[in-house]
């Protein structure tokens, strides 16, 4: 395949930035923020896989695999927290979670 590595990396960067943008823009919506994080992590995986393919070694792919596991752990914990907090505060708006500040 003859796609330059840099193109893959650009695509990954775009995706990463979009994920970041999502996290930042959906400022109060915890679900969308988590989605943004997923997007960012997927961009990272793309980078790893690209790098892996580029150097012909499996390490990058492995990192991706581990990232998936990590992500699922994080997401499940995050969602558990969302549920927990929703139960306590009846909201998932993170802007309302500001009892501590200053």
């Amino acid at each position: 395949m003859s796609v330059p590595l840099s193109h893959i990396l650009i695509v990954a960067s775009l995706m990463f930035a979009m994920g970041l943008g999502c996290v930042v823009a959906w400022r109060a919506n915890v679900i969308m923020m988590l989605i943004g994080i997923e997007i960012m992590l997927n961009a990272v995986m793309l980078t790893f896989v690209g790098g892996s393919a580029h150097w012909g070694i499996a390490d990058g792919q492995l990192f991706s695999l581990m990232l998936m596991a990590l992500t699922s752990a994080e997401v499940s914990l995050a969602l558990a927290m969302v549920v927990y907090l929703h139960r306590r505060k009846q909201t998932v708006n993170t802007d309302r979670f500001d009892s501590m500040k200053g």
């Binding site: 970041l20 996290v23 930042v24 923020m33 993170t94 802007d95 979670f97 500001d98 500040k101």
Partner: protein, 626 residues
């Protein structure tokens, strides 16, 4: 060797007496304290006499080391020469008498221990001042007498006015003292020594301009201590102290320390005519100033105070006219008759229930005859009636001034003569007002007899003090012979005819003053008494208030100083410096608080900050690559 012992004992007696009184005085019986104090001073006097007997030539006696820091070596060393010898004898004698007098004068005061402690310490300090060979030691005496004077003026401390007077005296003289210290530091820089004898022999090493400045520094020092214009304002107020104190400190001894200092350092500064002229002018002006002020005073002691200022002015004039002998002569005689006058005044005051207004007195000639005659003798000396001690001493100075020549000194001579006239006038004004007129009621206190008795030796010394230094036509003076060895001590080169003419003029003026006073206050006494009830004329108040110098200084120095102190503290220290730092702290704190507000509690803000940080780092790295 005996000399050293005498000198040491001379100083030790009053010192130990003073310390004993200070430390244990309150626990000891009164009689013991009184006799201890008197014995100490008389012991000192005896030592002074013994010293005088065994004196042969000027000697330096080093008793101990005071301190030494590298080349700055200050020994405790004493210098015995005719000048210090004659002064220490005088001090021993006068102070001894005044101690005795005090015993009775202070009979009713509870704080006798403090009183005698200070009195004794004063004698110690004064003797140290006179005998010191190294300038720092002289300064020790110099400040010591000032300190004792401060506490004694404010002896009756419960009255704030007394304390204020003491404070004024202390601070005003400190201005002079500072000049002394500056001179001291400078002398050390110039000559590398602070020994009086060495310094006096090294004056020629320095240019005249330096010596002039040094002379002026010493003059300022003398101005403070001897109450010369413009630092004279403290002395009239100093009369707030007990009268024996005024007699001892503010008439006979301490206030003449300035003259003594100038006489002591005379060899060093003699080379500078400018310095001498400054001294002479200061002296003459002060003499005139003091005499005029004395004219208008109503308070018995203030008259004497102004007269003291005036008389010391004469002494300064003498030093300025290169007549150290004459100045010292006047100093000694003045000590006797001024002590006499003050002690006499003390008797009067004691007898009058501490009334000091001379316009409320009168007729004491009959009720206090002994006091009267003694006081009269003192007044005659002060006025310079012919053949009294004061006559000869004052005349010696005036003659020296005339002989110095030049327009300046001649005009000073005439100013001196005018002052002599005024002096005679106010002296007898005092006598007529206090002792003349109708019968006065007195209150006989128990000690009055002894107090009056003390006056007698002083009166004799005052009246016949002239023999100490008779003018040339009557035979060589004792002092002149003694002082011949020291620079500036030589007799004035004048013909006997000149001397006689000048003395005749002076005598005539004194008598004229007496006549005028009699006319105004003897014959016109009743009229004057009436006048005194009405408000004084402007001229009288001008003179009575000492030419308004107090008010002037108040406006120029005291009030601005107070006001600025407040401003410096509240505006500058608390204001600019402290508040700016507090403000800085406050500012940093509020910046911190604002930075803390960045933590809004909203995770979105945290994330965007985080992301912005990432963007900045990446942007920077990209910029590097570009």
């Amino acid at each position: 060797m005996m000399l050293a012992t005498y000198l040491t004992l001379m100083l030790l007696f009053p010192l130990l007496g003073g310390l004993t009184c200070a430390v244990a005085g309150r626990k000891l019986p009164r009689v013991l304290v009184e006799s201890l104090a008197c014995a100490a001073v008389f012991g000192s006097f005896v030592c002074a006499l013994l010293t005088a007997l065994s004196y042969t030539a000027p000697t330096v006696v080093t008793l101990a080391d005071w301190f030494a820091a590298f080349d700055l070596v200050i020994p405790i060393s004493l210098y015995l020469d005719p000048l210090s010898l004659s002064l220490s004898v005088m001090i021993g004698f006068v102070c001894g008498l005044i101690h005795l007098y005090s015993v009775f004068y202070m009979r009713e005061d509870e704080d006798y221990a403090r009183y005698f402690a200070l009195l004794n310490l004063f004698v110690f300090a004064m003797l140290t001042l006179v005998l010191a060979e190294s300038l720092p030691l002289l300064y020790l005496g110099w400040e010591g007498v000032g300190f004792c004077s401060y506490l004694l003026i404010g002896f009756w401390y419960r009255d704030t006015n007394n304390a204020d007077a003491g404070r004024k005296a202390f601070i005003t003289t400190r201005i002079g003292d500072t000049a002394f210290m500056i001179a001291l530091a400078w002398l050390f820089q110039l000559f590398g020594t602070l020994s009086v004898t060495k310094l006096n022999g090294m004056g020629f090493l320095m240019p005249v301009s330096v010596l002039t400045l040094l002379g002026i520094l010493f003059l300022i020092a003398a101005m403070g201590k001897s109450a010369q214009v413009p630092l004279m304002v403290w002395l009239p107020d100093a009369m707030a102290g007990p009268t024996p104190v005024s007699a001892m400190i503010h008439a006979a001894t301490m206030v003449t320390a300035g003259v003594y200092l100038l006489a002591r350092m005379y060899p060093l500064i003699a080379a500078s005519q400018a310095a001498l002229a400054a001294i002479a002018v200061t002296g003459a002006v002060t003499a005139f100033y003091g005499a005029t002020c004395a004219l208008a005073q109503r308070d018995l002691k203030r008259v004497l105070a102004y007269s003291t200022i005036s008389q010391i002015g004469y002494m300064m004039l003498g030093v300025g006219a290169e007549a150290v002998t004459a100045a010292t002569f006047h100093l000694l005689v003045h000590a006797f008759f001024k002590a006499l006058l003050f002690l006499g005044a003390g008797c009067v005051i004691a007898a009058m229930h501490h009334e000091q207004d001379i316009f409320k007195m009168g007729g004491l000639r009959r009720t206090l005859p002994l006091t009267f005659w003694n006081f009269l003798a003192g007044a005659a000396c002060l006025a310079g009636l012919p053949l009294t001690g004061g006559f000869f001493s004052k005349d010696g100075i005036l003659m020296a001034v005339w002989h110095k020549g030049g327009a300046l000194y001649q005009s000073l001579y005439f100013l001196g003569l005018l002052t002599a006239l005024i002096t005679a006038f106010y002296s007898f004004r005092l006598v007529f007002l206090v002792f003349g007129g109708g019968n006065g009621h007195v209150h006989r206190t128990s000690g009055l007899g002894v107090m009056q008795a003390v006056l007698i030796p002083l009166a004799i010394l005052g009246l016949f003090g002239g023999v100490l230094n008779l003018p040339g036509y009557m035979g060589e003076g004792l002092l002149t012979r003694l002082f011949a060895a020291i620079p500036g001590g030589g007799a004035v080169e004048a013909t006997h005819e000149q001397e006689i003419v000048m003395q005749a003029v002076a005598g005539a003026l004194a008598l004229a003053g007496l006549a005028a006073a009699w006319l105004r206050y003897g014959k016109g006494r009743a009229h004057r008494m009436q006048e005194a009830q009405s408000p004084p004329s402007p001229l009288i108040s001008f003179l009575a208030n000492g030419w308004y110098f107090d008010a002037l200084y108040n406006v120029l120095f005291v009030r601005p100083y107070r006001a600025l102190a407040g401003i410096l503290w509240e505006r500058m220290d608390e204001g600019i410096i402290d508040d700016s730092l507090d403000g800085l702290g406050e500012g940093i704190g509020s910046v911190g608080r604002r930075l803390g507000r960045w933590s809004t509690g909203r995770v979105a803000v945290y994330l965007i900050s985080f992301a912005a940080g990432g963007a900045l780092i990446l942007g920077y790295l990209a910029w590097l690559v570009l």
